[in-house]
């Protein structure tokens, strides 16, 4: 797997030189379904023009909160629907996905983590168990609700618990961590921020993760009720 340069920029802002992958930081909670196709078309043109992979804004499609990655030719490389919603989103009566589906890129397998899924330890763990070696997260966080621990309890927790590198667009800014949860790029809303990622620098302990998974299986009786996922939240 080759190294790559990831940048978190403002929406449609020119990427730093030599960037391979761009993640847009969007201060809106999502792009409405009505505008989604225009936003995606615009992001595809951006990918072609700048010859980069791009993860544009969170958007609503087919009654789901989504995040996607576009290839430099403008095609869709991977899409992920949110598995969990924040309170505001729950009011919108959206659907929720039941799994994280990593996808192949030239830089290794990646997973997109949508909005509050980064706060749910099972999401990144599931992505890593399925082979993801790099995590891209995009989360809505209003300015008035931002403090340092928001990053610790989401991005840093996910990185250090799973031994993966994470690039996360959070509210108006972004942060990039290594596999130990240390910051490669500290949180900043002075975008862009960029870092070169060595995909092999993960410290994933698959054996213990398997053990933890078996523990879940041994206690499968605790996962009882057919939950709310996959159906509209009431």
């Amino acid at each position: 797997m080759q190294q790559f340069k990831v940048a978190i920029t403002n929406v449609l802002a020119a990427p730093p030189k030599g960037t391979d992958l761009v993640i847009f930081a969007d201060q809106r909670s999502y792009v409405a379904e009505l505008d989604s196709h225009q936003m995606l078309a615009s992001a595809a043109r951006y990918a072609v023009r700048n010859k980069v992979y791009v993860v544009p804004e969170r958007f609503v499609a087919a009654d789901s909160l989504c995040l996607c990655m576009l290839a430099p030719d403008g095609s869709v490389l991977g899409v992920q629907r949110a598995c969990h919603h924040n309170v505001g989103m729950r009011e919108n009566n959206l659907m929720r996905a039941d799994e994280i589906q990593p996808f192949d890129t030239p830089f290794g397998k990646m997973a997109l983590i949508v909005d509050v899924d980064i706060n749910m330890p099972q999401c990144v763990r599931s992505a890593v168990m399925k082979g993801a070696s790099f995590i891209i997260s995009s989360q809505y966080l209003p300015l008035y609700d931002f403090y340092e621990d928001r990053i610790n309890y989401s991005v840093v927790d996910a990185a250090v618990t799973n031994g993966v590198q994470i690039a996360a667009a959070i509210g108006m800014g972004g942060v990039i961590t290594d596999a130990k949860g240390d910051f490669i790029c500290d949180y900043s809303d002075d975008l862009p921020i960029a870092a070169v990622i060595e995909p092999q620098q993960t410290i994933i302990n698959k054996r213990d993760m398997q053990k933890a998974y078996k523990l879940m299986l041994a206690h499968r009786e605790l996962i009882d009720q057919p939950g709310e996922g996959g159906v509209k939240h009431e």
Binding site: D98, E99, Q122, R125
Partner: protein, 338 residues
């Protein structure tokens, strides 16, 4: 490994210690017993994480006095639960006659092949289990009863049906064993030595509610804490091990995720055993309980213990709009991928 030396020393221990001697020695400590266990305080309860410094004990009374110091002071401060790191029972091996030569033999084994190490480890566990268990279980049973405290006492290697488990024990205020947990995530050394991992979480049921006895190695995984929480635990002990460093940073994440009080007993020092231990003791809560400290209620590597009042009921009232969504279908899908 000089098996004869080991076996004769272990045999000699039957003269040095027995249940009655341990009981008498605890009585001789003149502990001021609480009339009854602490009642529920609306402002929460005090819990203690011990930061143990392993040292060789001169005699049985020395061992009991040492362990009592770790319990007596927290008890005097009003603590209801005190938690010790794992494998602390093995310190009683230092009471064996000719322990120095046995210890030197064990250190030499590091350079031998795996099979030899496994055999020697099995022999040691098989030989010392009787007196180690007797001293450890009786000491902590008596201390729990005398101080009217719940004690998560760490534990020992336990041989059962030809398999060795790293087992932790929970004692009630009456001195009864109310919980046992076989270590779920083994260290590399333990795997090499053929220790068998536990397969299920078996929380102890105490007056304070269910308490999960976990090891520091579980802190890297959300699953044990998710299970503990779903089983109704309010407290989880993540005991440090002499065989690896505990990453306390993770404890506050686990506490936040599952709204648990995570107690991490630490281990420091250990020079006398050829160890260099530096796992901090700490008490961790969901962030809402201590926003200024990021959920870290107390932490130490220098003090013998930390005691803190924790109020889970208040912390649970806090609603976090970003992490309170539940999607059980996610877990159903997860386990169906077996």
């Amino acid at each position: 490994m000089n098996k004869l030396n080991l076996k004769t020393s272990a045999f000699a221990m039957s003269y040095i210690s027995n249940e009655e001697k341990v009981r008498d020695m605890v009585r001789a400590l003149d502990i001021k017993m609480r009339r009854q266990p602490l009642s529920h305080d609306p402002n929460g309860i005090k819990v203690t994480a011990v930061c143990l410094r392993p040292q060789r004990c001169k005699n049985l009374s020395d061992y009991i006095e040492k362990m009592n110091r770790y319990v007596a002071e927290p008890a005097a401060q009003g603590s209801a639960l005190v938690a010790f790191p794992e494998l602390i029972a093995l310190e009683t091996m230092s009471l064996m006659p000719r322990f120095s030569s046995i210890h030197a033999d064990l250190l030499k084994l590091r350079k031998s092949d795996i099979q030899q190490q496994r055999e020697a480890f099995f022999t040691v566990c098989e030989t010392v289990q009787g007196f180690v268990g007797e001293i450890f279980l009786n000491t902590f049973s008596q201390l729990a009863r005398s101080h009217r405290m719940i004690i998560a006492a760490g534990g020992m290697y336990h041989l059962e049906n030809g398999k060795i488990y790293n087992r932790q024990y929970l004692f009630s205020e009456e001195g009864d064993v109310i919980g046992m947990q076989d270590k779920l995530f083994l260290s590399e050394t333990e795997r090499r030595l053929g220790v068998t991992a536990g397969e299920k979480l078996t929380p102890g049921v105490s007056r304070l509610g269910k308490i999960a006895l976990l090891s520091g190695a579980t802190l890297g995984h959300y699953e044990p804490y998710w299970i503990a929480s779903r089983m109704g635990c309010r407290y989880a002990v993540a005991a440090s091990s002499p065989l690896g460093r505990t990453h306390n940073k993770l404890a506050r994440f686990r506490a936040q995720e599952e709204k648990l009080c995570v107690i991490v007993p630490g281990l420091c020092g250990g020079k006398e055993y050829g160890l260099s231990l530096s796992s901090a003791a700490g008490i961790y809560m969901p962030r809402a309980a201590a926003p200024e400290q990021g959920g870290v209620m107390a932490e130490t590597v220098t003090e013998p213990f930390v005691t803190e009042r924790v109020d889970l009921a208040s912390a649970a009232q806090y609603f976090d709009m970003y992490s309170d969504d539940k999607n059980m279908r996610f877990f159903q899908k997860l386990i169906s991928e077996e």
